[in-house]
């Protein structure tokens, strides 16, 4: 269970970091604000889950080595174009809903999962709205095809059939958790650089 929760928290942390990359440059000011808001929620979820796993959420979030992160390759990808960003947001939110809904049944973490789920409902509405707008755009459709194997890697193998049905795509071989994409090392380097510049345990 802890392994599963760590993967969930790392996903939320890293996608929160990636969504922040649109700050100041989103195609509409409204989306700049929306992406900041979503990023804050995702980071907040990561923190809430880390706090279940440890007394020091910051240490868990920042002080691990690269290969100790359990995030899915989908969230690691650096996608600074709107078509792929929205394709990821949509696929991720659908996958995340399946995973969170399953966790809501768990006696230990059900309450936390339900709390996270309440906020995710807004992210899903946002993602669905964009998917509706872009669904006929070739850039968006290509992006969905490209990212689909990665999206499958977000959920457990037993949940993949449900995910495929929800997004109306055929199941393919998933890009699994456990190894990292080339995009992750530069992100890790950036997200930890200030923190690493002072001795461990320093206050910031």
């Amino acid at each position: 269970m802890n392994e599963l929760l760590l993967g969930l928290a790392d996903d939320e942390l890293v996608i929160g970091w990636r969504d922040s990359e649109w700050t100041g440059i989103a195609p509409l000011l409204e989306e700049d604000v929306a992406f900041s808001s979503i990023a804050q929620n995702e980071i907040g979820h990561a923190r809430a889950v880390y706090e279940r796993l440890t007394d020091d959420a910051d240490a868990l979030a920042f002080d691990r080595s690269l290969d100790e992160y359990r995030c899915a390759p989908l969230v690691e990808l650096r996608l600074l174009d709107w078509g792929r960003t929205i394709a990821r947001r949509w696929l991720y939110e659908v996958a995340d809903e399946i995973r969170i809904t399953a966790l809501m049944e768990d006696p230990d973490v059900g309450g936390l999962a339900a709390k996270i789920n309440r906020e995710e409902a807004y992210h899903r509405m946002h993602a669905e709205m964009w998917r509706e707008r872009l669904r006929d755009e070739p850039r968006f459709r290509d992006a969905v095809t490209e990212l689909w194997p990665y999206a499958l890697g977000v959920v457990l193998p037993a949940q993949r059939e449900a995910l495929a049905a929800r997004v109306a795509l055929d199941e393919v071989e998933a890009v699994e958790r456990g190894s990292h994409t080339d995009d992750f090392a530069p992100l890790w380097d950036e997200m930890t650089m200030v923190r690493r510049s002072a001795p461990v345990g320093s206050q910031w």
């Binding site: 700049d32 604000v33 804050q40």
Partner: protein, 302 residues
């Protein structure tokens, strides 16, 4: 409420706003007044938006989850302010798309402080604390703006900015009480930012000669604003053990601050689009404005 009669003649209108009168969007106003409003408010909107870029890369480098959340929220507020402010400009006749296009084409100005690099996490603290403190002094002087819609949104903006200052002070406090190297990051950042901060409120022209004051778009002169900044923040800076890089800085018996002459040539050079980061930041915005044009087209076509 009885409708206030807005004088429909330039001299009478001037007397009206100088007596504290306010106007609404649909009211008659002199062309010169409208043009000054657009110029002033558009620059404010541009500054909120360009103010995001010095901080954006540091959102990705924030050293704790709490700092990451606070900085993201702060920057989100700033984009939200830009959104509100551009709406005011739009009501005065200039659409947001044109403001954004003029901005990336280098035809419109934004505040001097947003033309400089953000070198370290120390700069992030100094920006959030002192740049925002300087900005809030200017913005509070707009709460009484003769153009009522602008004055109204300034209430929300000032309220949010006051939280940014708290966040900034907290970042600074953590560092000055941290390791000597962390303290040094703050001192170095303060050294870098002091010049631009002293230039921030503009040259000390008498307020009676400032057209923005004349029309009561703003309610205080440049030097008044700078004095308020010094009075409010220099003692706090000193209290933290930091050194202000100005050997002439002192508070006179009568409460007036003396300081070394700010570099007004630098200010002029920077705000006319020649700051160290001006081109790079505008090019960055332009790149994404162009790259994502298809998204706006798709949204508008729907």
């Amino acid at each position: 409420m009885a409708a206030v009669e807005i004088p429909q003649d330039e001299q009478a209108f001037l007397a009206y706003v100088q007596a504290g009168g306010q106007v609404e969007t649909a009211d008659w106003m002199p062309d010169d007044y409208r043009a000054k409003l657009v110029k002033f408010i558009e620059m404010h909107g541009n500054s909120e938006l360009m103010g995001v870029l010095p901080e954006r890369e540091w959102i990705l480098r924030a050293p704790t989850l709490q700092r990451k959340l606070a900085l993201t929220a702060k920057v989100q507020d700033e984009v939200g302010h830009a959104q509100l402010i551009y709406r005011v400009v739009e009501d005065l006749g200039k659409p947001r798309e044109r403001c954004l296009a003029d901005l990336v084409d280098g035809k419109a100005k934004f505040h001097n402080v947003f033309h400089y690099p953000t070198k370290t996490w120390g700069d992030v603290g100094v920006i959030a604390w002192l740049v925002d403190a300087a900005a809030i002094i200017s913005q509070k002087a707009l709460l009484k703006c003769s153009y009522a819609p602008y004055a109204r949104i300034m209430k929300k903006i000032c309220w949010e900015e006051s939280f940014h200052i708290l966040h900034g002070r907290d970042v600074i406090l953590a560092m000055v009480t941290g390791t000597p190297a962390q303290f040094e990051l703050v001192q170095e950042a303060l050294n870098r930012w002091w010049g631009p901060l002293m230039q921030f409120h503009g040259n000390p022209i008498p307020k009676e000669e400032d057209p923005m004051y004349l029309w009561r778009i703003k309610s205080q002169g440049n030097e008044e604003a700078r004095q308020q900044f010094l009075e409010g923040y220099v003692p706090q800076i000193w209290e933290l053990g930091l050194t202000v890089p100005d050997t002439k800085l002192r508070r006179r018996e009568d409460g007036t601050w003396e300081y070394g002459e700010p570099d007004w040539d630098e200010l002029m050079h920077v705000v006319t689009g020649h700051g160290p980061k001006t081109d790079e930041r505008l090019a960055f915005r332009r790149r994404f404005l162009d790259q994502e044009q298809w998204v706006r087209d798709a949204v508008l076509a729907a």
